[in-house]
C-alpha cells in the first residue's frame, strides 16, 4: 500500500475483506469532515493506481457507505464525482445558479464573465428559473456561452410573479422552494451561487457564493455561511457582510469592467454623461442630476453654454419614474438635456468615447446601505474611456475614485455643481484627471478579472483532485 501513514492505514482498512465502519471511525475521528473526505479520496486513489484485483469497488463502496452514514448521502455522491475527476475520467462539472439571470444587470454580468473565463476547463450548466437562450447572453453581454447547458427549474410558487422572483417572500411558515436548486447542486463538482439568494443550501464538494451585497439579514432558510467560499465584489460589500451576516467573507474579486474604447479617447465633447438604470424607486438619482444641471446652467450661463447632459440607462416598459423624468425635462424646455433609454452597447461605447465628465449619484440622500452603490461598474467603464467621474461619496464608489486625482466625490448637489463647474472651466484639470482615471481603471479591467477567477478555481480544483493531506 502506498501513501503516508494514515493513508496507508485507511487503504488497508478499506481494502480488508469486510471493511468496518468502526475502523474508519477510529482512524478519522480527529479530522474535520472535509479532512476525512480528503483522506478517503487519497486512499482510494492509491488503491485504484495499484490495480488491486477486484478490491477497489469494495473499498469504494465501503467509503461511500461510511460517508453516507456519517455525513449524509450528498457527501457519498461528492466522493464518487471527485474520484471520476481525480482519475481523469471526465472533465469537471460546474453549475452556476442565478435566479435573476433573465434580467440584464451587473451582478448577472459578473457571474457570466466568470463562466466565460472558465468555459475552456469545465462542463458548465447554467441553472435559472426562467428559460434563457445563449443568444440573449450574446446580445446583452457580448459573450458566447452557447457550449453551456441551460437548465430551467420551475418555481410554481412564483408563477404569478412575472420577471421578479423575490426570495424575501418566502417565510419560515412556508416550504423552501429553492431547495429544488439545493438538491441539484449535489450533482456537480463545483456549485456557484451568483444570486442574492441565500436560501440555496450547497451540496457540492466545492461551493462558492458570490455576494454582490447582503440584502437580507439571517432569517428563514439562511445558508450563506454554509458555502466553502464567499466571494465579495467590493470592500463595502465585505463590511456589510460582516455587519449583517456576522462572518468574514473570503475572497475579494472586483467586478469585470469591460468597456475599453475602440480608439484612443483624445478629443472630447462638452458632455456630462450618466449611465445608470432608471430604477422605479429613483435610487440612481437622475431627477437630482437634472436639477443640478439646470441650476448649473441658470447660475453660470456663459460658462456652461456649450455643455449638455446625457442620461443613458436601461428601463423596463411602463416605468413611472422614467415617465416623470421625461415630463420634468419637457417642462424645463431645456434641449441640452437628453435621455437615451435602452440603447445598444455600440451606442453606449460612442457616448463614453465623446463625453468628458461622468456623474453618478447612487446613494445620495440615502440612509439604507443596500441602496448605496455596492461597486459602480459604470464608473469604471467611464474611467476606461478617460471621463472624469464626479460621484457620490459613499459605498463602493469610494474604492474607485480618488478625490482630486482620478475624479471627485461629493455628498450634496451643491458639491456636485461646484466640482463640475471647476472641470468645465479647467480643460487641463479635465485632461489630467481623465488620464489618471484611465490608468486607475486597469485595476478593474476584464483581463485582471479573468486571471483572478481562473487562479481561484484552478487552486480549488487542484485541491479537489489531489488534496494536500499532510
Amino acid at each position: 500500500m502506498t501513501g503516508t501513514g494514515l493513508e496507508k492505514q485507511l487503504s488497508a482498512a478499506l481494502f480488508s475483506r469486510i471493511p468496518r465502519g468502526s475502523e474508519l471511525d477510529r482512524l478519522l475521528h480527529s479530522l474535520p469532515g472535509n479532512g476525512q473526505r480528503d483522506y478517503l479520496l487519497k486512499a482510494l486513489k492509491n488503491l485504484a493506481s495499484e490495480g488491486t484485483q477486484g478490491g477497489f469497488p469494495r473499498a469504494l463502496r465501503a467509503a461511500a457507505q461510511w460517508l453516507r452514514s456519517r455525513q449524509g448521502p450528498a457527501r457519498a455522491m461528492n466522493l464518487i464525482l471527485r474520484m471520476e475527476v481525480a482519475l481523469g475520467m471526465r472533465r469537471p462539472t460546474l453549475a452556476l445558479y442565478d435566479h435573476t439571470l433573465h434580467i440584464i444587470g451587473g451582478g448577472q454580468k459578473y457571474g457570466l464573465t466568470m463562466l466565460d473565463a472558465l468555459k475552456a476547463d469545465f462542463d458548465i450548466t447554467i441553472l435559472t428559473h426562467r428559460p434563457m437562450e445563449p443568444a440573449s447572453i450574446r446580445d446583452w453581454y457580448g459573450m458566447d456561452l452557447s457550449a453551456c447547458r441551460y437548465q430551467t427549474i420551475e418555481l410554481p410558487e412564483f408563477a404569478d410573479a412575472g420577471a421578479h422572483i423575490d426570495p424575501a417572500r418566502i417565510t419560515r411558515r412556508m416550504a423552501n422552494p429553492f431547495h429544488r436548486v439545493s438538491r441539484l447542486s449535489g450533482g456537480f463538482d463545483i456549485f456557484i451561487n451568483n444570486s442574492m439568494n441565500e436560501m440555496v443550501f450547497p451540496l457540492a464538494e466545492i461551493s462558492t457564493m458570490v455576494c454582490h451585497f447582503p440584502e437580507r439579514r439571517p432569517g428563514a432558510y439562511f445558508y450563506a455561511d454554509r458555502y466553502d467560499t464567499v466571494i465579495f465584489n467590493s470592500l463595502y460589500t465585505a463590511e456589510w457582510i460582516e455587519k449583517k451576516w456576522k462572518f468574514t467573507p473570503h475572497v475579494h474579486i472586483y467586478p469585470p469592467v469591460d468597456m475599453p474604447p475602440a480608439e484612443k479617447p483624445e478629443e472630447k465633447d462638452p458632455i456630462i454623461l450618466s449611465v445608470a438604470r432608471f430604477e422605479q424607486g429613483g435610487s440612481k438619482r437622475q431627477k437630482e442630476m437634472v436639477e443640478a444641471f439646470l441650476s448649473l446652467r441658470r447660475r453660470f450661463p456663459q460658462e456652461t453654454r456649450d455643455w449638455r447632459l446625457v442620461l443613458a440607462g436601461g428601463s423596463p416598459e411602463n416605468n413611472p419614474y422614467l415617465e416623470d423624468l421625461k415630463q420634468k425635462i419637457r417642462a424645463t424646455g431645456d434641449t441640452r438635456i437628453r435621455l437615451r433609454v435602452n440603447i445598444s452597447s455600440e451606442e453606449l461605447r460612442a457616448l463614453y468615447l465623446r463625453a468628458s465628465v461622468f456623474w453618478h449619484l447612487c446613494g445620495l440622500h440615502q440612509t439604507d446601505p443596500a441602496l448605496v452603490e455596492h461597486f459602480g461598474m459604470t464608473i469604471g467603464e467611464a474611467m476606461q474611456n478617460g471621463l472624469v467621474p464626479v460621484v457620490f461619496d459613499g459605498g463602493g464608489q469610494r474604492e474607485i475614485v480618488e478625490p482630486g486625482v482620478t475624479g471627485f466625490r461629493v455628498r450634496t448637489l451643491e458639491e456636485l455643481i461646484r466640482h463640475t463647474r471647476r472641470l468645465i472651466n479647467d480643460a487641463d484639470l479635465r485632461q489630467s484627471c481623465g488620464r489618471a482615471a484611465l490608468e486607475a481603471s486597469q485595476r478593474f479591467d476584464r483581463p485582471r478579472f479573468t486571471r483572478e477567477v481562473r487562479e481561484f478555481f484552478s487552486e480549488r480544483l487542484k485541491h479537489y483532485t489531489d488534496p494536500q493531506t499532510s
Binding site: 485504484a48 477497489f56 469497488p57 453516507r68 448521502p73 450528498a74 457519498a76 417565510t171 451540496l203 439579514r217
Partner: protein, 162 residues
Amino acid sequence: MDTEKIKAEIQDVKKDVSIWYRSEAGVADLAGETIDRHYPVDLWEMSDRELSAWMGDQLSILNDAIDPRPVPSEITSHRRFLGPIIVRVKRLIMKVLNLYTHSILERQRRFNTECVTLQLASFIRLRRLQSSLDRITRELAERRELESLQEKKTDHDEEFRP
C-alpha cells in the same frame, strides 16, 4: 491501472449512490445534518427600509391571526381506526362549547380587527411622516449649503472691494 475497468466499477457504485441520493426526501437528509437554525431578530440593527419591510410582514401575520375561533377542520387524528371517532367527538364538544364561547370570541375577534387596523393606520402614517421628513431634511441641507456658499461669496466680494 486498468482505467476502463476502474471506470466501470466506479459507475457501478455511482448507481447505488444515486439511488441513496434520490431516495432522500429532504435537503437536511441529504446533508446528513440539521441545516435550519433560529436567528434572533435585532430590531435596533435594522435600517429604516428593513424595519418597514419587517413591520409589513408582522402586520400580515397579525392579520392572518385575527380570528381566534377554532376551526373544526383543524381537528385531526393520526390514528387509523379510532381517529374518525375521536375527531367527531371532539368536533361535537367544540359545537357545544361554542354556545358559551361564541360571544366572547366574537368580541375578541372584533377587538383584534380594530387593533390590526389601528396598527396599519399607524404604519401608513409613519411612512408618510418619514417621507416628509426625508424631503425636508434634504431641502434643509441644500439650503444650508447654498447659504454658506453665498456667505463665502459676500466675504470674498467685500475683501476685494476697492
